[in-house]
Assembly symmetry: C2
Homo-oligomer: 356 residues x 2
């Protein structure tokens, strides 16, 4: 899911997002609650009409943002008191309010408010947060019973808690499952271990969504562990910074070697950038901080991830996801060569994908 | 002509520029000579292919930029020595080099190198510059005889020099005529007086191009004085600043009154913004400095000027340009109400358009 935090996938028109093949996008309830306000968006006909996107929209509840962006937060059983990161104003966010916001936006899939802890939290604190998140999930569903609301599975880096939370979420009959609290600083080993613990507990016929992930290599690693959905600020943010996804790693378009390159960054890519413009032109745009460069690089990166998912879907249908992942991760050279080697080693050590 | 100084109309794809109805755009030889270099663009197949625009392109020679942007300039009969505004490197720009650059770009219409003086220059200095510009024009045409190269008519605010330069340019058989050195700080009265002096000397069957103009009100005033072409950084720059052209003046989209406005800025406009998005959404984008806002406002302003030209063309065909101009300038409320009143008064005092 391309990320449209503020009801815009940065630099792109809705039609351009659709042209990448992305079938669903994400907006953020926390940001839209603060500005321009969910009530205003409701009066404008809902977020689909507001931003001109008629496909499905998933909203993050803002739990992660309340706990990471805002100041002076205080958590109670009732909810979270926090200060806006924009103007310092004080707000009290409850499970019911998070759902009211998302219902007002009119999204297709909502996230419950969850109690987010730092990735380094000890088991006792993580267990309290898991139980609170479970209680809050029930309040969320009671508040908006007609809204499709995924359960967010927390539990930090503690296998027992991850497993327990996943089982309780399944028992609660959630329509889909989000894996939260990962990719927040823990090691990749732990991240994948926790992902596997959770997905192994989930039914195969309901969507699994790994929140806040990720990079091409993370997508391949996660799909091999049974994940279906992702949201990804990386593609758009890296695009605006001039870093382009390719099967051979990230290409920095500002690099002098592209100055006179008449070809596309990726001959196999069918995005607007690769079809219509040379690397020399994109390099020129970035060297001059031209906004068109940000657009074209964003389009390429979003299309790259969508195309990567298409390739994995084909590999899964053909029964060859393990082979695809091994080849892909072997070829993919991350900016940091060492990081890439570690990833490949981890993948191989695990015997490849355990489920598809 | 939308301005694509660096071979990009800021924020827009070539297809979006074409969709506004603009049939020709402008690039700047000075900027492209400095970066990425005209030689590189030539090796990439020329500026049309480089930027993906297959319509006509006019290039400014860079005379104005050499004299306004660069440092340490020194003018001799041979050319102008200047320092790059980017890196301080020293360059020697001659009429021949200006033409070599434009030929390498492969533009459809070129501008000669001219000797640009501050608008306040006295008659003696202005006369020297006129004669030098005439000599340089001959050198330009001799250097690239197959390139359509307009004459640039200078002469400051001195009627005698303007008339003399116009006549010499006509005698030289120029394929088109640019009016330079106006809209650089002189009063609007003087600007229009000089424009009329020049256009009254020019043949009716060759294009007249008023350089560096302009605003909607300036376009209407100039067309009434027989001008055919303009280049206009204002539309794109104001768009990125959130100022939108309307028949009732400039609307500042950041104004709180648009916060909850479900309608378009201009119900009569057929641009992508006005067809597809509310003012509330554009206001939201600008309040959050979202790049998509700059794009949509740019598209509106460029389309507004193209549509204004279409309306004037229809008025001319129907014989009613004077009536159109009087009504338009009467309605148009510039940001500064006093300025608007002065403009209308001047127009009326002149008895409306003298030629169409």
């Amino acid at each position: 899911m391309p990320v449209g935090t503020l009801a815009t996938v940065k630099t792109l028109l809705p039609g351009e997002v659709a042209a990448t093949g992305a079938g669903i996008l994400l907006v953020n309830a926390y940001h839209l609650y603060l500005r321009p306000g969910h009530d205003l968006i409701a009066r404008m006909g809902g977020v689909h009409r507001f931003m001109g996107w008629d496909g499905p929209i998933l909203s993050d509840s803002g739990g992660f943002q309340v706990f990471s962006l805002s100041g002076l937060r205080k958590v109670s059983e009732e909810g979270v008191k926090f200060r806006s990161h924009i103007d310092g104003s004080e707000h009290f966010y409850t499970p019911e309010l998070a759902m009211e916001v998302q219902a007002a936006l009119g999204v297709d899939i909502a996230m419950p408010l969850d109690h987010v802890l730092p990735g380094t939290s000890d088991e006792r604190a993580a267990e309290d947060a898991v139980h609170r998140t479970l209680r809050w999930y029930e309040r969320c569903r009671a508040a908006q019973p007609h809204l499709a609301t995924f359960a967010i599975v927390q539990g930090g880096v503690h296998e027992r808690l991850r497993r327990q939370h996943a089982r309780e979420a399944v028992a609660a009959g959630a329509p889909g499952f989000s894996i939260g609290g990962l990719s927040v600083g823990e090691s990749k080993d732990l991240m994948w271990a926790m992902t596997e613990v959770v997905t192994s507990e989930l039914p195969v016929d309901k969507p699994r969504y790994l929140m806040g992930v990720g990079s091409p290599e993370d997508l391949v690693n996660a799909v091999g562990r049974g994940v279906d959905m992702f949201d990804c600020v990386l593609a758009t943010r890296l695009g605006r910074n001039g870093a382009l996804f390719t099967d051979d790693g990230r290409a920095n378009i500002r690099n002098a070697k592209y100055r006179e390159d008449p070809g596309p960054i990726d001959p196999g890519c069918d995005c607007l950038l690769c079809r219509s413009f040379s690397m020399a032109y994109l390099h020129h745009l970035f060297r001059n901080d031209e906004l068109l460069g940000y657009r074209l690089a964003t389009i390429h990166n979003v299309r790259y991830l969508v195309r990567l998912c298409e390739r994995m879907r084909r590999a899964i249908s053909g029964g060859g996801l393990d082979a695809f992942a091994e080849e892909y991760l072997g070829r993919y050279r991350a900016t940091d060569e060492r990081t890439r080697m570690e990833q490949k080693a981890r993948w191989t050590a695990r015997g490849g994908a355990k489920q598809s």
